[in-house]
Subunit: 280 residues, 2 copies
């Protein structure tokens, strides 16, 4: 399976035409999917360590995974099962909540810029600047002209990041309304999951169509060469986790990461160790 | 195996009397040790998620794992293999390097306080405020009276954290000078590892005895009830990873973490979902 087949083509977006429960490009079910994800771990670890090592050469390259999706679409599951495969030392996860009073005083990209991964890191945004054209649009939290400007501002911002060495992987986790209902009910059926449930989730759910429209506009307007969108069928959790894992892997492969050469004389240093005075 | 057997007893510390290559309390070798670590994963994940969930109740509880040890002692390996078992969403790792110019303008605990885990998190310090009584002492980077005061200041600081809900787990990864030499030579024998090697590591190694003394003093002076030290035999990497995993698990168990109760009427919310108008 090549995860790139989920790359959104340019042009208008109709999310109802993209299946949420399909598993294109993969033969097999949940068990095989979990095994396929686990099988990515070694190469993912190797490539992430090369990216991490490259920091020492002054490289500014890094990767930014942006996760967007409706409530229960599985952003947390991707963090645990897919991002969890990578050495946590080189990962920086930021979960964006409703903006704080301080954040509201600033330009919408202010808190995003503060959370960008440093060179060498795999950064992950659990929600992102896209909330500023999604929930903000659905609830009318900004003027239409302001929202209208933001699409272009996001594109300029992401192009600037790409120029500065950031490989951007934007994933929309795509679930159906029926699947969300099942997942919300499951949270209510299990006392261990009550903490994940918020009555407000049902209010948001009633605006499903408005969110779909907001997503369709955002996906179309910000689906750039520098930072294209991937729409990941996410009704099947194992498939969602696998696709994001493959996307990480394929983007890291494309970076052609090499181990940095020694910036010292290897034989001289080996000689120092071999001939050292007794150490104890 | 109960990892607590590595708890440092009160009183003077003689690191030469603590074996670096022993595997007390564990029958078996590398393969069994790796399997025993993997076997902790499910319970670790469950307990960490309970800690994470507890945030929603306003609890301030969190865990702070402090990793100290000589170069090559395996702080990075513990991060990858042990901390990597935990959901990365709830983990915050901070690696402390030589202080920046800005950090040097502040009290030595300033940068430490900024990096403390928020409630609900497992925080990990890869090096820590202990560098301010270790490398600083070995290299005479502060006045002796300043260093002398710091032991008490660290104890006061850690007691304050414990009162504020922070469970502190301090691990000294204990390796022999001979094992360090093997590990440094291994880095020079493998071009994929050159980036991990720094010629300065050999200069530091020549001060092995001074570091041991600095560790012994620091361990004795800061081995408090609120934040005791664990000395982890670390010549065998698998045993080191397993002991730190067990320490995390045992401390999380001791927190008696429960799933938060619902702060809403479960039946009412279920009814809203079951009887909702069609959503699409």
């Amino acid at each position: 399976m090549t995860a790139h087949l989920h790359r959104l083509p340019p042009g208008p977006v109709d999310l109802t035409s993209i299946a949420t429960d399909a598993t294109p490009g993969f033969e097999g079910g949940k068990k095989q999917g979990a095994a396929a994800l686990a099988a990515l771990a070694d190469e993912l670890a190797d490539l992430q360590e090369r990216l991490w090592a490259e920091r020492s050469t002054g490289s500014r390259r890094r990767l930014l995974l942006v996760l967007q999706g409706m409530d229960t679409s599985g952003k947390g599951g991707v963090l645990r099962h897919t991002v969890g495969l990578v050495d946590p030392q080189g990962v920086r996860i930021t979960s964006f909540k409703a903006p704080t009073d301080e954040e509201k005083q600033h330009y919408f990209l202010w808190r995003i810029r503060k959370a960008l991964p440093q060179p060498g890191y795999v950064g992950v945004f659990d929600r992102s600047h896209y909330e500023d054209v999604l929930i903000v649009r659905v609830h009318g939290l900004a003027e239409p002209e302001t929202i209208e400007r933001r699409y272009d501002e996001i594109n300029d911002f992401e192009a600037e990041l790409a120029d500065d060495g950031v490989v951007i992987v934007k994933c929309m986790l795509h679930i159906s309304a029926a699947e969300q209902k099942e997942r919300l009910l499951a949270r209510l059926d299990n006392p261990d999951k009550y903490w994940k449930f918020n009555p407000g989730d049902i209010d948001e759910r009633a605006r499903w169509g408005d969110y779909r429209t907001a997503y369709e506009v955002a996906l179309e307007r910000t689906n750039t060469e520098a930072a294209p969108w991937y729409v990941v069928p996410s009704d099947k959790k194992w498939y969602r986790n696998l696709v994001v894992g493959r996307l990480l892997l394929e983007h890291l492969r494309d970076m052609e990461l090499e181990w940095p050469p020694a910036d010292f004389d290897v034989d001289v240093q080996r000689g120092r160790l071999v001939e050292e005075a007794p150490v104890s």
